[in-house]
Symmetry: C2
Subunit: 426 residues, 2 copies
């Protein structure tokens, strides 16, 4: 029945657009230009299609829910966001990194400031939407209260309050991929990248392959959330001590405290380190600054179904769950050990103007290599304290240390790994 | 450059498929058939395109990461998942609901059991993948340990262990949308639904409008995770007391404990209720059962960028953040108050065979209406205890109560609402 849909206000369905078609009114994007007007706004509107200069649309995967809202008649087709009072609570940038060649390829550096820098174009009718939002919050974690109870943390009324809340700036970031730059990060041709994105998603967005003139893609995936402890501007000052963790989502541990991995313990330990680091007063009377960058890459970006299938395969294999077979089981099910790709991750650090991380709360060699390889100095790495590793998570952490993860302790050999066992399925 | 990509093993790029094209080898899907072989497998492979009988592909939005992995040369194009030892830890179904007309339209009821029921087809070369995975876990929450310290919870060695862990079955579920049924849920024609999904995502999957013969869509969105306390089979027995919460993701509170809403406090309270309910021994010597269904619908399915923009607009409006303007500010920015759509949510309950929820730990009228409207009885509703509502979250909870959320307390009038104020941005 969908072959001939009933007429609607939008008229005829156009299946795919081609160069020259519908480009009237669409502002050009010159990625990496320092002046936002020379760079041009990112326009992913579905309301005024002739204004679009990207493949895809806003809100990552939530674009599908917005489409459902229109279908159900709950959301008016032509709705424009009223951006009154939504501006960032903290000014961020412009930093030199915003226009350094290829430094940022997966975020729109101007994404938080569109209402300000493109005010004229918006007033003239261009449907430009923020891809970044910056707000303030108080966060209240049981682990932080516990650290206070044990006198490891003390309230200072600025970073950590008497009631155990930490005052933070929090920032939501949607992915905005400049395809030529993304391709170079992965060391493939742009054509290969576009073709794989199209074909390996079962044919999502033919414009990926028909519109090489459109260089920007808003992929329907989750973004990132940043939590900053202290003054956001200090992130760009390499003389201010920065404590940082780049954390990839693990819902089962981060929310529910599953004991098969170290994700929440490491995250809450990093928050404690960030608070302590931001509180510490240094020469000159200034405190430090802390950063948690949280990326929606559930289960090494394999998704939870694959992750749980791997858990079963690990726990049921001959000899039980053991550290020497840890990576092998993921590879059997998923075809790869990991799909997170840290290649794009440093972009958000460059967007914040970071040049130096004094204390990186991470043992991941992939993250360390991506950060330092992108030109950011890492002074020190902080491993998870042994007492925070749940018993059943020893399989994971030992397998990772043997594979090259940072540690200050011993690196297990093959025999050691085979002896590290997890719980069975009961 | 992508206009004429270099030749690859996959040959020519096909932009969109049309009926009759490539259908050879693709098994038909007869949604709702009781016999899985009559129903047919859901095939979303990108490896053998002639086998495909859906629009879209597996793993929700993580399909984009899989495509990146292929582009980067990390994942072999033709990789097939080795499903050895991945079978569900607990048998679920088949339940009568699986074949009741239109009872389940957004999940593949056979999604956890493909390796078993379609073993022959997989051996013959069909690339069939699970869309549901069922495993066991121990979860360890600080709030549960606290409930033990205050003697509200006691370990029983079965549901709650001495060390404060709860033993659960956890289930990851990917969305599988049968479009004719989804359209009827939203009371629109299938053609309207298909057209909106295509146009309002900026042109995702032209097959949505060109292939009305393909009725199943694997949307690139997040799925659900279920945590079951007690025996999974008891969920389908209306005589066993079921405590349940349907929780929509809120990363800022669920993980980081942001005090602007009640999400994590309500979630951890529900877990406490689930543990207590599962422990309680009833006549006949059997315990109860508990269920948390966690849906990836961040920020009312608006996404975090929109959510944070709304926070700023709320806190900066004239008169400050107040409960009487709570919904208005969301509507100004997003065009709707909420995009979560509880219409599809009961599917997962029917998949588990649930007929009666004795204790629903939720105040949402949308969720209550969706559950009872789908034919599931709700005996009692449990509101969040007042002492668990953070001060800054009073704006949200009072606005919701005034709008019809369940409460055992007073319903505020307009003057009351105007007096409920939140913190400013500092």
């Amino acid at each position: 029945m969908a072959r001939d849909p009933s007429p609607s206000p939008a008229g005829h369905i156009r299946l795919t657009s081609h160069p020259g078609q519908g480009a009237a009114g669409a502002p050009p994007i010159r990625w990496g230009e320092a002046d936002p007007h020379a760079r041009g706004p990112v326009v992913g509107t579905t309301t005024s299609r002739h204004q679009r200069n990207v493949v895809g649309t806003h809100s990552g995967s939530y674009g599908v829910y917005r489409a459902l809202a229109v279908a159900a008649g709950n959301l008016e087709r032509g709705h424009r966001a009223d951006l009154t009072n939504t501006a960032p609570t903290d000014p961020i940038g412009p930093c030199p990194q915003w226009s350094e060649p290829e430094r940022i390829v997966s975020i729109d550096p101007w994404g938080a400031r569109v209402a300000e820098v493109f005010a004229e174009q918006i007033a003239a009718g261009l449907d430009i939407r923020p891809t970044i939002a910056v707000t303030k919050a108080h966060i209240h974690l049981p682990e932080v209260r516990q650290a206070m109870a044990f006198q490891r943390l003390k309230p200072d009324g600025r970073i950590l309050l008497e009631d155990g809340s930490a005052a933070v700036t929090k920032i939501a970031v949607e992915p905005v991929w400049w395809l030529p730059g993304v391709a170079r990060r992965f060391k493939v041709s742009e054509a290969e990248l576009r073709r794989a994105l199209f074909e390996e998603t079962g044919g999502m967005y033919p414009e990926l392959v028909t519109r090489s003139d459109i260089e920007v893609f808003l992929p329907p995936i989750g973004g990132q959330t940043l939590y900053v402890f202290g003054d956001v501007r200090d992130l760009a000052d390499p003389s201010v001590t920065l404590t940082a963790r780049i954390h990839d989502e693990c819902n089962g541990s981060d929310v529910f405290g599953s004991d098969i991995c170290t994700c929440r313990p490491y995250l809450t330990h990093a928050i404690e380190e960030c608070i302590e680091g931001a509180q510490a007063i240094e020469h000159g009377g200034r405190g430090g600054v802390g950063l948690i960058a949280y990326s929606r890459k559930e289960g090494r970006a394999l998704g939870e179904v694959t992750k749980f299938l791997v858990y079963n395969a690990r726990k049921r294999q001959v000899g039980g769950d053991s550290a020497d077979k840890y990576f092998l089981r993921t590879e059997c099910v998923a075809g790869v050990q990991d799909m997170r790709f840290q290649e794009l991750m440093p972009d958000v650090l460059h967007w914040l103007g970071i040049r130096r991380i004094h204390r990186l709360v991470s043992m991941s060699n992939d993250k360390f290599d991506a950060i330092t390889g992108s030109g950011i100095e890492v002074v020190e790495r902080i491993k998870i304290p042994d007492e925070l590793v749940p018993a059943d998570a020893m399989v994971e952490i030992q397998a990772k240390i043997a594979a090259g993860y940072f540690t200050t302790g011993e690196v297990p050999d093959e025999a050691d790994l085979a002896a590290v066992k997890g719980r069975g399925l009961e």
